[in-house]
Amino acid sequence: MGIDTPMKDRVFKSVGTRPTRPDGIDKVTGRARYGADFNMPGQLHGSILRSPHAHASIKSIDTTKAEKLKGVKAVVTSKDFKTKGITDPDLLDIIDNCMASKTAYYDGHAVAAVAAVDAKTARAALKLIKVVYKKLKHVTDVDEAMSPGAPLINKKCFTQGVEPAPTKASNIAVRSEFGHGNVSEGFQQADIVIKRTYKTGQSHQGYIEPHACVASISPDGSGEMWVCTQGHFVFRQQCAEILGLDAAKLRVTSSEIGGGFGGKTHLWLEPVALLLSRKANRPVKLVMSREDVFRASGPTSTTSIDVKMGVTKDGVITAAEAELRYASGPYAGAWASYGAMTSFACYDLKNVKTVGLDILVNRPKTTAYRAPSAPMAAFAVESMIDELADRIDMDAIDLRIKNAAKEGTRSSYGPVYGPIGIGATLDAAKKHPHMKAPLGPNQGRGMACGFWFNFGGQSCTDLNISPDGTATLTFGTIDVGGARASMSLVVAEELGIPYDKVKAVIADTGSLGHNEMTDGSRGTFASSMSAIRSCRLAIDDMRQRAATMWDIDLDDVTWENGHAHAGGSSGSNHAPLSIADIAARAHKTGGPIAGHAQIVADGAGVSFATHICDIEVDPDTGQTRVVRYTVIQDAGKAVHPTYVEGQFQGGAAQGIGWALNEEYIYGKDGRLENPGFLDYRIPVCSDLPMIDTQILEIPNPNHPYGIRGVGETSIVPPLAAIGNAVSNATHVRMTQVPMSAPRILSAIHANKDSD
């Protein structure tokens, strides 16, 4: 098999089985070390002072008293960040977000930090820092931020993506547009046209482990950092640039990670820890409290979305249009563009146009959250599809099937699809017993589809064969839920050795080349692609070794089932050599056996899902109960099906929380009123039923095993699936997420009043 031979009717031995994960024992015995579980000798404790105001200019910061407090070893403010020479606007935003320079843009924005001998002293020192603020008018609502009288958040914000460039500053940071055909003509061909506005609240990734790191910088300019992150190589690169260090001299080790979902793709406190360490000349540990996590790290956008769609009586969608307004916090982002790209991606549309607008507001900087921006767009579009079906008296699933994208469809965001799974997930949904199960009183059934691109990008891996024939794979993407198990399966498959003879190790940044983040569902896709290449290089090497051992031509050595076989006329009477046989002789045949691969993984293979759910609504209180939930999704090829199911279930549960309950609540003063798990309530065990899953495998032609990313798509349909279920249960169309009990109740009442 060649180095890049794509998958074709391959029969798998290891891939597709369900062994226990290799890092499991450490995680059930408390031995696994997460971000806050690590200490360095002589370490100090850091603490961060945060703005209590939603929007304020910082007139002065006096740190003298804090510096004089016994036990305080360093205090830093934005003045300590040397931004001269940094031109990348995204990096400048990251720095400003880590430590406010002139303006505090949101409740919780960091303004100063302290490192002291213990946490108590550090906290006491924060109280001695005197910050003089001048309060400014604030805006937290995305539509208000666009209105003419809204306070301007950044005077230098001129909308990007508009020709000619505007001369007046506004809160609209970026405009993006996608589509093809002619929507006005399309609407003319429609029998029914519906237009509606949908809104979604701001949700947080809600990982259970708060951000944490231990940083150490030496006077010689070398440094080390231990951190919970989704991408230690990217963190190293960015931190090195911010601190003016050589990337190679900053060694970053990723801890076990207690959930990320996109929220740990971004720097929040790591540069601050490094700066404190440099100033104090001691290691510094910095751990966020849960309140800090909510106030100052990675929520998703709150949105307001207009959708207009037209359909003929026999169910052809003739045109679709949307304007998607996404809050991006106080800095420009690309969040609305993801919404604009994904909104209609499930459908084959002749005429489609989407416009995305990223809006600045006084909320924390928006960060990726699992299929970032897609769930809100899907909520709007999939809600409307149900309504259209209702209006033409067609089954909602049949309308979707009729208009589903297929191989060869030009997607709403540009590219033409290869083999894709939307049709297959819809067919599976239609046939699923869940669809026919009877509903109880006050129950409604809803369904919705979802799409995510999946990312590829740079990965590299080392495969080393030990003298006893066992294999170590060193890879550079983190294990957030079974990656070591999946990578071990892939290596076992490729080398033809048992799973338990493989050890998968996550490299620190000093031990491997650059790897991109574990984001965009790329971890398994890209790292496995590189791992397979590493294995195939090692196999080539081992064939060569076998040829040497047998003294025959390389061309006469084939590789099958983990063994070198002698073929041709020269070597037919040699018994096959196992990897262990070859490894045992490595010292005589050229030294250690290894395969190093580096790739830019292209062709991640888009992913689609269809979800079905039953919701019961108490008509007197608006209280909801999730009665049944089914996830159907295309995985390309499920490497470890149990962990694929886990991704489906976890994404669905997060989507359910977002749909029914989770939301940032801001007071009139612009302060976040629910920065804790008590008031920002994520689903608990008793809120949910079992979540049924069905894995479809429509191979990704661009991956040697057909793998697609699976991590994200599962959060895309739930908002709409639940919205449709609640609407069917109450006979009132829900247009706002979360559908909390009071919101549902008032929708029911408003409907009764208008009857």
């Binding site: 499991g24 070390r33 990982y207 482990e209 279930q649 976890g650 798990f677 994520i682 008793s686």
Partner: protein
């Protein structure tokens, strides 16, 4: 003024010093080195810090270190019997009841406390007993299955 505390942790006698206002969670993690006990919130809302104190399930972030004087503490570090995993630990692994695993120590302790009281819980009883433990990764499906499977195995033993 620090206080000196004597407790039995996972069957062993420990003596540690802590501040009077220091939580048992911090004391266990920072003074005793039991970092299997996790902090997810520090306010009693996530259950990641679950331990048993004289057999009762508590959030160690809501107990003071000083309150542990003379008492018996069980943490995840003490769950297995030498190299023999507790059935809950085994079933969690078999059912992939953990993804990131940071909630796992709390779930294991809470599930153990449940099964000691009720060896044959229904799915609903498991769900309510574990409602104080947050997991953001799994959607709870595989956790509930693992607990039910462990209960079944423990009843047979």
């Amino acid at each position: 003024m620090s206080v000196l505390v004597n407790s039995t942790i996972n069957g062993d006698q420990y003596e540690f010093v802590c501040e009077p206002d220091e939580t048992l969670l911090d004391a266990l993690r920072d003074r005793v080195g039991m970092t299997g006990v996790k902090e997810g919130c520090g306010t009693g809302d996530c259950g990641a810090c679950s331990i048993t104190l004289d057999g009762a399930l508590v959030c160690s972030c809501l107990v003071l270190g000083a309150e542990a004087e003379g008492r018996k503490i069980e943490t995840v570090e003490g769950m297995s019997d030498g190299d023999k995993l507790h059935p809950l630990q085994t079933k969690f692994l078999e059912h992939a009841a953990l993804q990131c695993g940071v909630c796992t120590p709390g779930f294991l302790i809470a599930a153990k406390a449940l099964l000691e009281k009720n060896p044959d819980p229904s799915e609903e009883q498991v769900r309510y007993a574990l409602a104080g433990n947050l997991c953001r990764c799994t959607g709870y499906d595989k956790i509930v299955r693992a607990v039910l499977a462990a209960a079944k195995q423990m009843r047979k033993a």
